[in-house]
Symmetry: C2
Subunit: 508 residues, 2 copies
């Protein structure tokens, strides 16, 4: 009855070896397989520590725990290496998921029982979305569905008090895709320099390596709450030029990853001033813009427009690409791969190239696009979901804020550890003073000192972190990054105990 | 009450211009903006015709129709340029969407009304999925959720009658992501050659350009149902080597895009034989493996294993990466961005590099991963959804098969047009004999002759296609690619009328 080829039908098709016998008759010595050294050298040098040595070690330990739950001195791995809230039991925000559920199966909208299951504003929102696209299963415009981009522009306008053009919004599969497009387009070769903060989120060094560009590190000042110095950046630009590297772009991560620091409007303005002087494209990685526990977030785009109002001539050529994501904030929907990029001030020939790259990837996931639109357009006060929504969001926010405080307090009580207060984001990046004995022992194990500490921590407590060397750090200092997403406090106590033992064991 | 920064709160924060006045005081002439010629030269040369000149023209016409519905000689644009079934009103398969709806909002599984709305097997499947992952909102392993990879391996084993290892399965955001990983890893520079069929799907030439590698075209034989010649491929390899280009990889698209041709097991075996001799990595683009209207699909992996059974020594070093996607077949879920790649026979150092690239992108969309798993594991005969599922799938299959036949018959009745029967995929790729007068007129308009035909077709009928030059074609021949996805037959009749007028207008 079935007239299309099912796997069942295909199984009845068995190629007889005899039909291939003519082919195998030819004689030759087979060529060898490719090995690592045959591959793209730029790929080989790229590193991504967030899923690097320590997390790989954690995976092995996890497998050990599955086969023998009593084999290790802990019951579970605490994945503090990556900002992945829902893996650590953070519950998704109900309103978002209700709407996604409806747009995945829009027949529900006509079901007689739907109002018993879904609140009316989720139903209304799903209807509104479905009136603006054929199906979440259709390719959208490569920039994303226009209706979703409209909601993003509206959000940006409300946030900044400056206009935003939906044609300058590109929806993306998380912020990583946007970074890859921009770095690929801006690189002409090793003579192209990207100014990146140290410490930085290693996606940037990885993408710079993959594109065979040159990283121009600028150090953040740890003692001064990881502050940024426009003077140091200008010095870096000038020194690079002497070595034949032209600074083409500066990456700002605000709130900072891994530092948790928040940039002041004045600091952003100083960086934009340098950018205007040297023609730097500014990549503003603002994925943690809702994770603000102390102080206020100000977008680079807002400061750019403010400066242009003050001096339109001097700042007329500013080029800013701002990134946001559904993976962070209180929404924490990493697996849905949603994000957007707003590109302001670029020449239209450059915009054309960005659009072409987006076209080659066809379109970002439409469910991720939908979620971006929900993130920037939550239920308002008149809507039945409003109270639940805000209660859930506030619950997540308060838990994050509280845990960030506990963790940073715990660090500052540990011997030889100092930690800046995380103003935002999801991470602590404490500095750890390691003894000569610990360093020597690390060397014996062919590990960096901070890697050695993280490996010991993992093997003793199950806590998986990322060594500071994966993010970059001032030479001679040692750090690690940990999220403060894991629930409970027991793991923090265990860490403190481990640390004491470690310090005792390796005291000089 | 709300203690996290909402947009409302942020609006109350208005930076006073005075705080920035110190910054604008510095004096300099601003650097110019970047223009196209400052950008990555490899990006600039990349082309992607499926969303190129003609589709861009169609977008403009669509905007015209919105502002003035009577402005053009047609009512709507028929988007035959891209395989995007659900944009052309193909209804999603219900069972898939029911399960996706449940996993997006798993609270439904505990709702008392759920069984009134969802069939029991959709509920059971959603429960099974949710017992294998924390949330579709969490990052998964960079290769995808292990449970989903298990279902893919099972499908491949059933299809091929050979083992498949879930550790060799990488879930991806559509097949494009897999192509990008592979091409990026395999390229060391312009001395790296990629054998690609001509005509080909332009993602390959685009990715080759972006990676600064060299395309080594091998022509398909149009008269012989677009067949492939191992002898010609070997000749191409040898000639390239003389010019300093080492063939490193061969791309097979089966069923063919844009040709619709299906490779026989013997043809695949001959290509694998050449690949073993020259150490070529084989990229088997098999995204249309379910779109088979005439003949039988055989996977490259199956032929690889068959050959290895016949002569294990000679074929021991074969390296095959097979790609599949949720975007095509009867599922047609392009916007969900699901796909997988099976990599067999690669050295473990190479596998490590592929995994690293996947890690840098964090993970494929988890909803897309879920859909891959549903695609390869449909409801079976004992399940309540079985009949509806197969009825929907068969309806789509029969409609595609019928329309492919009508379209190809219509082409072969048109003056100067010849079209091979599409055995598979979603496209016709007819050859069109264009007059000297038409070619001269195209030149006047600064267009390729086939581009000129497609532009005229679009402006007269609203049918948007892609010129053959976007896919590559034998020099001096002219083609176009059209999907046979658009419903109804009126557009086919309109095309025939347009063609007659075009031929009359440009007769030499």
């Amino acid at each position: 009855m079935l007239r299309y080829p099912t796997t069942t039908l295909q199984r009845t098709f068995r190629m007889t070896h005899s039909t291939l016998s003519e082919v195998v008759k030819t004689k030759f010595t087979p060529a060898p397989k490719l090995v690592e050294s045959d591959l793209n050298p730029h790929t080989l040098v790229a590193k991504y520590a967030v899923r690097g040595t320590i997390p790989t070690m954690a995976e092995e330990l996890k497998a050990t725990l599955v086969s023998d739950p009593d084999a290790l001195p802990f019951d579970e791995i605490i994945a503090a290496n990556i900002g992945n809230p829902q893996q650590l039991d953070q519950k998704p925000i109900t309103f978002y998921r209700q709407v996604l559920s409806l747009v995945e199966y829009p027949d529900l909208l006509d079901n007689e029982h739907v109002s018993k299951i879904f609140p009316s504003d989720a139903i209304d929102r799903a209807r509104e979305i479905m009136s603006n696209l054929k199906s979440v299963g259709a390719y959208s415009h490569s920039k994303g569905v226009r209706y979703f981009r409209d909601t993003v522009s509206k959000y940006i306008e409300d946030r900044d008090g400056h206009p935003s053009d939906p044609e300058e919004i590109y929806l993306t599969a998380g912020a990583s895709t946007a970074v890859n497009y921009l770095l690929s387009i801006l690189t002409t070769g090793p003579e192209t320099g990207f100014l990146i903060p140290i410490p930085q989120y290693p996606l940037y060094t990885a993408a710079i390596a993959l594109n065979n560009a040159t990283a121009l590190p600028y150090y953040l000042n740890e003692e001064d709450q990881w502050s940024i110095s426009a003077a140091e950046i200008e010095k870096t630009i000038i020194e690079a030029k002497e070595k034949g590297v032209i600074a083409r772009c500066i990456v700002l991560i605000n709130p900072g990853n891994p530092t948790g620091a928040i940039l002041t409007p004045e600091a952003i303005a100083e960086i934009l001033d340098v950018s205007a002087k040297y023609g730097l494209v500014v990549i503003a990685d603002e994925v943690y813009q809702e994770n603000v526990y102390t102080g206020v977030f100000t977008s680079v785009k807002k400061v750019m427009r403010d400066l242009q109002e003050l001096d339109s001539e001097k700042y007329k050529n500013l080029q800013v690409a701002s990134l946001h994501s559904t993976s962070k904030g209180m929404i924490g929907e990493c697996g849905q791969r949603g994000g957007y990029m707003e590109i302001c001030g670029f020449d239209e020939t450059v915009v054309g190239q960005i659009l072409k790259l987006a076209s080659i990837s066809l379109c970002p996931p439409v469910i991720g696009q939908t979620l971006v639109s929900l993130m920037v357009n939550p239920p308002n006060e008149d809507h039945p979901s409003h109270d639940v929504f805000h209660c859930e969001k506030l619950g997540i926010f308060n838990a994050l804020k509280e845990r960030s405080h506990k963790l940073y307090t715990a660090f500052n009580k540990m011997e030889g550890v100092s930690c800046q207060e995380p103003q935002g984001a999801m991470y602590c990046f404490p500095s750890i003073t390691l003894s000569e004995k610990a360093k020597a022992c690390a060397k014996e194990h062919n590990l960096q000192p901070d890697e050695f500490y993280c490996a010991k921590l993992l093997k003793s407590t199950g806590i998986c972190t990322v060594p500071g060397s994966g993010f970059g750090q001032y030479p001679g200092t040692w750090h690690l990054r940990t999220t403060f997403l894991a629930p409970g406090e027991e793991w923090i106590d265990n860490w403190a105990k481990f640390h004491k033992q470690f310090m005792d064991e390796f005291r000089d």
